[in-house]
């Protein structure tokens, strides 16, 4: 009868076993906390290091690393008189948003990070923001611009990109001024939070200037063949083609536009043309493609942060990575800078106090002036509009940093 079941443990022994188990659990839970209590401040960074968004992750990582190196070289962050080094803990979430949420949770509960950077893009940043809110961890999103990320009433989420219309409005202004003949607009959007949201803003900006949106199509994430929609774009003969997505989507779209000889006076793509990789991959076809972003290496700000001026940031970045920085890298760096400034001002690592300091922040950085609005999204930037001319990104707006005139005609 009792042959299969193990004999019951005597009661005192069972209690002892339970105690031992509890002790072991406590010890494992405490260990990382003890380690973290040493001289470093740990920042968690869930990133899509593999998968379709890998190029974007690399940029964010470069931005964080450059900041961490600079801070550590200067002795670390001054926390109430004590210098503490910075450590960034990365987790790869393989371009898979549900895994980004798990990664954020793991960083907070197991890796015991003090503060968190959001995963890449609006969609993943929004998904992961719930985790940081639940644990009360101040989080800065360096690459999320859509208002839908910030309108959840969360207290711990801050973002360094202004809302999407701050890109589409100046773009539409420039086109309306320089090319009054532009009336027919075709919009092609990746069916994803940010790319779709900014496409919808573009639709509003175009309509507000009396332009006619003759086509608005969305394509599924990971689409490889756009030939059908290209035929449709051609059939509506637009003056302005506005395509959204991430760099790999946009390189593919440009190639398939050329495949069907689609030309237009104005072609705008967001977000990709800001990257040198886009210009390299699209080659001559990239000429005169316009775009807008939240920062540009032509910016000339005089900050009070560890990088100081925009020029100095460019110089340090060039020296470290042998290429010009773009807005994604700068935004990641400034996210670190803002944590640093908030911690130093608060004089403590206390999350609630750092959060409060961030919320009331009004500082000048190499990235531009930074103040956060009531939802936590930055309100103080004027994003530049630029255009690829002779294989380089040339700023055409705002006038203070303009490098060239807006040109028409994309082949």
């Amino acid at each position: 009868m009792t042959g299969l079941a193990s004999p019951p443990m005597p009661r005192p022994l069972r209690r002892l076993a339970r105690l031992a188990l509890a002790a072991a659990a406590c010890a494992t839970a405490l260990l990382p906390a003890v380690a973290a209590a040493q001289e470093t401040i740990r920042f968690g960074a869930p990133l899509p290091m593999t998968g379709p968004l890998a190029p974007e992750a690399l940029k964010q990582q470069q931005g964080y690393d450059l900041w961490a190196e600079q801070v550590n070289k200067a002795g670390g962050i001054n926390v109430g008189g004590r210098r503490m080094k910075v450590e960034i803990v990365y987790i790869d979430y393989q371009s898979n948003t549900p895994r980004a949420v798990q990664a954020a949770e793991r960083l907070i509960t197991q890796e015991k990070v003090h503060f968190l950077f959001s995963p890449f893009g609006s969609g993943a940043a929004k998904a992961a923001s719930t985790v940081s809110e639940k644990h009360g961890v101040p989080t800065i999103a360096p690459t999320a611009s859509s208002a839908q990320v910030y309108d959840q009433g969360y207290k711990n989420l801050f973002g360094t990109f202004t809302p999407n219309e701050t890109l589409t409005e100046p773009l539409a202004n420039i086109v309306a001024q320089k090319a009054p003949g532009v009336k027919r607009v075709a919009i092609l959007a990746r069916n994803d939070l940010f790319p779709l949201a900014i496409a919808q803003e573009m639709e509003k900006s175009a309509k507000a200037r009396g332009m006619n949106v003759v086509m608005f199509e969305r394509y599924a994430i990971n689409t490889m063949d756009h030939s059908a929609v290209m035929a449709k774009i051609k059939s509506v003969s637009p003056h302005w083609i506005f395509a959204t997505g991430y760099i790999n989507d946009l390189v593919l779209i440009k190639k398939q536009m050329a495949d069907q000889r689609i030309e237009a006076p104005v072609v705008t793509m967001i977000a990709g043309p800001a990257y040198q990789e886009f210009i390299d991959a699209a080659g001559k076809g990239a000429e005169n493609i316009s775009s807008a972003a939240w920062w540009h290496p032509a910016a000339r700000y005089k900050g009070t942060d560890v990088f100081g001026t925009s020029e100095n940031y460019n110089k340090l970045f060039q020296a470290r990575y042998k290429t010009e920085p773009d807005y994604a890298q700068a935004s990641a760096s400034v996210a670190g800078v803002l944590f640093q400034m908030a911690i130093e001002k608060a004089g403590t690592l206390d999350r609630a106090k750092v959060r409060e300091t961030l919320a009331g922040m009004n500082v000048m950085t190499f990235y531009g002036p930074v103040t956060f609005g009531p939802t936590g999204q930055i309100t103080s930037l004027e994003p530049p509009v630029f255009q690829i001319q002779n294989g380089r990104n040339v700023v055409v707006h705002p006038p203070s940093i303009r490098q060239g005139e807006f040109r028409l005609g994309v082949k």
Binding site: A220, T223, M224, S227, A231, S235, N248, Q260, R261
Partner: protein
């Protein structure tokens, strides 16, 4: 004219799909093995073309000549060494085996090449060809022609050559073929080899058109599935027909319902066919 352009796009795309699916269909039809590595084989072919062009300056057309025997050999070894051990087991066993092998292959590719998208950009580019107002990119056109030639070659091998007839014989009746002196294990290996060679060649051709990444393998595999079910299993003409139907349908479907529904459309069709016409458009059990 606009409809002609859509049709042209659909036909070109359809031929590429046929090329993706032909080898998959052969292996499924003859061996009754659903080779889940097929998509990864295609991607591997693309990497071969990419590395040969960017590293050694070898044109993809020459790579094609190398890829066919190379992938045939790899497929042959794979079948002989691994798959033949479980070939008589129920289909789920071979499915699980190829699933596991695919996980290994795909992750090995992720390690070796990273998930970044690579592009094979020919210099000078092949450009486009205009017939009236219909514009077709030459790279797609060439890939389409090669795809048709390759598929025709596979068809002829199956129809005319000794090994081809033996493959068909085994497919018809394994026991009878064995009695007639056909060495079934070698024939299985040959069939799998042909399937792998088709996948590798398709990969070389697609490298010119689509970005290359280990993550594309599932997309290719998905298309191969749909095309096979549409056209009929194990039938080479069926793969061409299935590919064309899918290409044209996606092309017009994207027009009518928007491009974001292209995938829904093809898998919706897959389900309809599985319910109402599981043998496919021209599939018959047995002879090809």
């Amino acid at each position: 004219m606009f409809l002609l352009q859509i049709l042209a796009n659909g036909i070109v795309l359809g031929c590429l799909y046929a090329c993706i699916a032909a080898g998959f269909s052969l292996v499924w039809g003859v061996l009754n093995v659903i080779n889940l590595m097929h998509g990864s084989f295609i991607v591997l072919g693309s990497y071969l073309a990419w590395a040969a062009y960017n590293g050694l300056g070898i044109s993809p057309w020459i790579t094609l000549l190398v890829a066919a025997p190379l992938f045939y050999g790899a497929g042959w070894l794979m079948q002989r060494g691994v798959l033949n051990r479980v070939i008589a087991a129920p289909v789920l066993v071979t499915l699980t085996l190829t699933f596991g092998l695919d996980l290994m292959l795909n992750n090995a590719m992720l390690l070796a090449f990273k998930a970044d998208y690579r592009k094979l950009i020919l210099d000078p580019p092949l450009g486009t060809l205009a017939l009236g107002s219909v514009v077709v990119p030459v790279d797609r056109l060439v890939a389409m022609l090669f795809a048709l030639v390759l598929t025709a070659a596979l068809y002829l091998i199956l129809r005319k050559s000794r090994v081809g007839r033996a493959i068909i014989a085994v497919r018809l009746d394994r026991d009878a073929a064995t009695l007639m002196g056909v060495h079934v294990k070698s024939i299985y290996a040959a069939a799998f080899g042909f399937g792998a060679a088709m996948a590798g060649c398709a990969g070389v051709l697609l490298a010119l058109i689509f970005p290359i990444s280990p993550l594309s393998s599932t997309a290719y595999l998905g298309k191969a599935f749909v095309v096979c079910v549409l056209g009929g299993l194990g039938s080479v003409p069926g793969a061409v027909l299935g590919g064309l139907v899918l290409g044209i349908l996606e092309s017009f479907g994207a027009m009518a319902f928007g491009p974001e529904h292209a995938v829904t459309l093809s898998f919706g069709l897959l389900i309809l066919f599985l319910i109402f016409r599981p043998q496919g458009l021209i599939g018959r059990r047995g002879f090809d």
